[in-house]
């Protein structure tokens, strides 16, 4: 006896679905041989850091003598208002092409990653507006840095005179 049309149609549709689903599953994972297939996307802060800073400063914030160290140093600057401002006004930060809001986010991320142990407990994250105002101020970086570091040392906000010293005179 022939099954009714309805049954035949339902059966055909089900067979079709299972077959195609099986084929689709078999075709999956074609990229498994590529080393890139398991990577997770980085955050926006990390991407901005990678594109604009990491090449020279290193992904761990430590690099060669020509490039100042970030790790365990930048946090000290946030202990004084002048230092907090300096981190935004240092030329490669202030003059970067990153928008104010994203720049603020990136600086907060960098401080957390490279300076968490040195930051004051009541540290307030940078805001886009604050960064927008601060980055307009032009400084002579070597001179300004020396002033800020002296101020931090005078107020005993850094452990000693070597803490923020630089191996090359022309850097800042």
């Amino acid at each position: 006896m022939l099954p009714s049309i309805k049954h035949r149609v339902a059966f055909a549709a089900l067979t079709c679905c299972l077959m195609l689903a099986g084929l689709a599953w078999a075709g999956d994972g074609s990229d498994s041989s590529k080393s890139t297939s398991r990577l997770q996307p980085v955050t926006r802060e990390m991407e901005n850091f990678a594109r604009n800073c990491q090449g020279c400063h290193g992904d761990s914030g430590v690099s060669v003598n020509e490039v100042p160290t970030l790790a365990n140093r930048i946090g000290y600057f946030t202990r004084a208002k002048e230092g907090r401002e300096y981190l935004v006004q240092v030329p490669n930060v202030a003059l970067s092409t990153i928008h104010d809001q994203e720049l603020a986010e990136m600086l907060n991320w960098m401080l957390k990653r490279f300076g968490a142990d040195q930051m004051p407990a009541d540290f307030k994250p940078y805001t886009g507006d604050e960064v927008g105002v601060l980055r307009k101020v032009r400084i002579i970086p070597t001179v300004r840095r020396a002033e800020v570091v002296k101020l931090l040392e005078d107020r005993q906000l850094v452990p000693n005179k070597d803490t923020l010293s630089l191996p090359m005179r022309t850097t800042y």
């Binding site: 689903a21 075709g27 990229d31 590529k34 990577l39 290193g58 060669v64 490039v67």
Partner: protein, 181 residues
């Protein structure tokens, strides 16, 4: 039955409609509709290549649309979209490895390239290998994201051996940093 419509155009459709109504059952219509709906539902499951979908044409750059992911000794290997110089993969090293006798520069610049296999953008560190004379093999000129020399942080014409023990350029490597946001 003779059509009751007077207009010739109407007559044609009336005839078709009446014939359909007389010859086909309602169940026939329902069954065909069912097949159609089931068929439409399983189309997305078909094992077709989704390369085109993964990377909309508008996003693919000129380089990425011609790039390949198999041979790192060719200029159109996907990671070399901003590589300017001799490929380390042709000089005894790899796409992200310096040849023996040279040292990877401690500094690099970071750009990004699209992988044509999945259409995603990856961050690539362009790092020169330094310490021996120019390799001279597989000279390539990728220029995506390359900035003029007055923006040296993102320029690939200058020798990226800063901080290295030797400023002598040998070849260019392109290491994978991560998947862009």
């Amino acid at each position: 039955m003779k059509p009751i419509s007077k207009n010739g155009f109407d007559k044609v459709f009336e005839t078709i409609a009446r014939k359909t109504a007389q010859q086909l059952s309602r169940r026939n219509f329902l069954s065909r509709l069912g097949v159609g709906m089931a068929g439409a539902a399983v189309v997305p499951l078909l094992p077709v290549s989704r390369k085109a979908q993964a990377a909309p044409a508008s996003v693919l750059s000129d380089f990425a649309s011609k790039a390949q992911t198999n041979d790192p000794t060719q200029c159109n290997y996907w990671r070399y979209c901003s590589s300017d110089g001799y490929l380390c993969a042709c000089c005894g090293g790899g796409p992200s490895q310096c040849p023996p006798g040279t040292t990877p520069s401690p500094t690099s610049w970071v750009g990004s390239c699209i992988n044509p296999d999945d259409g995603q953008t990856y961050l690539i560190a362009y790092r020169d290998c330094c310490g021996q004379d120019s390799c001279g093999r597989c000279a390539c000129l990728g220029q995506e994201g390359d900035m003029p020399s007055y923006r040296p942080q993102l320029n690939n014409d200058i020798v990226w051996c800063f901080g290295s023990s030797s400023m002598v350029y040998h070849c260019s490597s392109a290491g994978l940093v991560g998947l862009a946001n």
